[in-house]
């Protein structure tokens, strides 16, 4: 029977997260044996809390990558957000959100209206927004509203509030991507804009929303980071673009668009963090850590290539 052996679409999407899930399990086992401290719950919570911002940014990045785009400007948006909210001005937070959304809007206009390649478009806004961040706050410092510091240091049921928020965001985003109409339209647009358009998907709107969401989530990441660091830093986000893309790819979401989900990329973030933390605990030098990370990234990403009929 032909039907029995064929891959179902939902299964394929789930499978895309498999390699990194396997990797993280292996890593956990290895670390558990080699350092008694590695899997201590307090250590794991520390790692989670540290990764909240990157997880938020990655959620947005995934949306864009599913449309076969790429958003390099997320790191600058993170920096700009921390720069804005660390100033003692009224409506700092709404202002930061509005600024971030306008970056997403500019990205989408450049890509949709003027046909600029996503990499070039977001590379340009990345540079420009970095400039804005430096302009707004040339030197790290400043102060965030008191409620933000309270948010960052609150703990409920043993979990820091930022971690709880991240879990909620990931669940909601996961539902949007895998269960909502918009999610399906992201996949359709990413596989072929022309076909999706003929199939009744308003691809321009899908892409616009994807870039807006990416900037919005980057802004959330920036707010969380500013709260955690209780200050603004115009360069603090510089690694976020690359890290979020690496985690997305590691999590089995295709950079060519149209295939993936949220579980893989979030697991990818946690994997990279756990790896860094574990290697630190094992007293392995930073240089070796970078080599190991690069090698694992190649390994994990190449493991995805085979499970893809029709793409």
């Amino acid at each position: 029977m032909k039907v029995a052996q064929a891959t179902t679409a939902v299964r394929l999407r789930r499978l895309s997260a498999l390699p990194v899930i396997v990797l993280i399990v292996i890593l956990a086992v290895v670390l558990g044996f080699s350092s008694p401290y590695a899997l201590a719950s307090q250590n794991l919570i520390n790692i989670l809390n540290q990764q909240v911002s990157l997880i938020l940014v990655t959620v947005g990045q995934v949306m864009v990558i599913l449309t076969a785009g790429l958003d390099l400007s997320v790191g600058s948006v993170v920096s700009m957000t921390t720069a804005i909210v660390s100033h003692d001005i009224p409506f700092a937070v709404p202002l930061a959100i509005a600024a971030a959304l306008s970056v997403g809007l500019v990205n989408a206009i450049g890509i949709l209206r003027f046909g600029v390649h996503p990499i070039l478009m977001t590379l340009s806004t990345m540079t420009a927004v970095q400039g804005i961040a430096l302009f707004v706050r040339p030197i790290p410092g400043g102060q965030v509203p008191a409620w933000m510091s309270t948010y960052a240091s609150s703990v409920f049921f043993g979990l820091p509030l930022p971690v709880i928020c991240a879990i909620v965001v990931v669940i909601v985003a996961g539902a949007i991507i895998s269960r909502s109409r918009f999610g399906l339209h992201l996949m359709a647009t990413g596989a072929s804009q022309d076909s999706a358009l003929l199939g009744g998907v308003n691809t321009n709107r899908v892409i616009l929303i994807a870039y807006l969401l990416s900037s919005f989530f980057a802004c959330l990441g920036g707010l969380n980071l500013a709260a955690r660091l209780a200050s603004g830093d115009p360069l603090v986000g510089s690694s976020f673009a690359i890290d979020s893309i690496a985690a997305t790819a590691l999590g089995g979401t295709q950079l060519s668009g149209g295939l993936g989900g949220i579980t893989g990329p979030v697991t990818g973030v946690l994997f990279l963090a756990l790896l860094g933390n574990g290697l630190n605990l094992l007293n392995i030098s930073t240089y070796y850590q970078m080599i190991i990370k690069g090698a694992l990234l190649i390994l994990a990403v190449s493991a995805h290539r085979r499970s893809q009929p029709g793409l």
Partner: protein
Amino acid sequence: MKLKQILLAGTMLLAFAAGPALAEVPELNSALSPVAGSPMVDVPASKKEKFVLGFSNISVVNTWRVQMVEELKYEASLHPEISEMIVSDAGGDVNRQVSDIESLITRGVDAILVAPGSEVALNGALDKAYDAGIPVIIFSSNATPKNYTVKLLADDAQFGRDGAKYLAEALGGKGNVISIRGISGNSIDNDRWRGVEEVFADHPDIKVIDEGFGDWAYDKGKQVCESLLIAHPDVQGIWSSGGAMTQACAEVAEENGLPLIPMTGEANNGFLRIWKEKNLESVAPISPTWFGQQGVIAALRVLEGAPIAKDNLVNPAPITKDQIDEFYRPDLNDSYWVGSTLPDDKLKEMYGK
């Protein structure tokens, strides 16, 4: 792997060293002096005989930081009372450094040493450590938590002042100057530049007519210098935020047939070599790498209950042209930061040609 052996050797030594607290409590480097009006640290000595120290480093992004961390590890290996020296590196990410510090707190180390990546971002985590009763030793760059145990700082503005004073003198208090700065927005660069501005404020006839950011790197510095020197071939002096960029400027000047005007440098071996070879008119402010070593000593003094001031500042005098041979090490390569406390074999291993 060598480091691990050294650490191991340290631990083994410790096994043989019988009896508590026989070793002398080490003294701080005499170049460090208490800030005027600083209180003494008032913390009861630890009752433990062996200590676990934790060090949270922001990054090993350049050789200065690498050497600083090596000096810290080496010093730790000399003291049998230190049973473990945990070193974590945040890879330049302050967000990760917060977690690293939290992680050291949960591991229950006896003292936390921190080379902060931000003046403000780590404050929450450092307060948490202090509140948990862990001595917090901040060194090399500043952080501003509510409470801390000891600070060992260099005044980065002094680096700028040293260079600017030299330029003012060399130019006779009058002339046009360009500045080659580090990374835009970086606090060290900002502080150094603040020092320059302070000095030049007293010399109104010295004008900074243009500036560029060379990211402290040789290649970027060379591009920046090239465009600045070609735009202003008649400048009389160059202030530089780092030695590699000064080297680049000297080469640009030579390649374009421009005179080797006074330009400020930095106390690393590569710059001293160029200084000597090209017979530059220059001065080399020092930012000591032995901060790492001093951090360990400060932690030990706190834990052993030996007297130590809360706030300490280092102000080494800059190296002048007639002192080059005292500091220059022709047997080591360009990356070596002069004035190290590391033993010779360790230096040869790191910087051997």
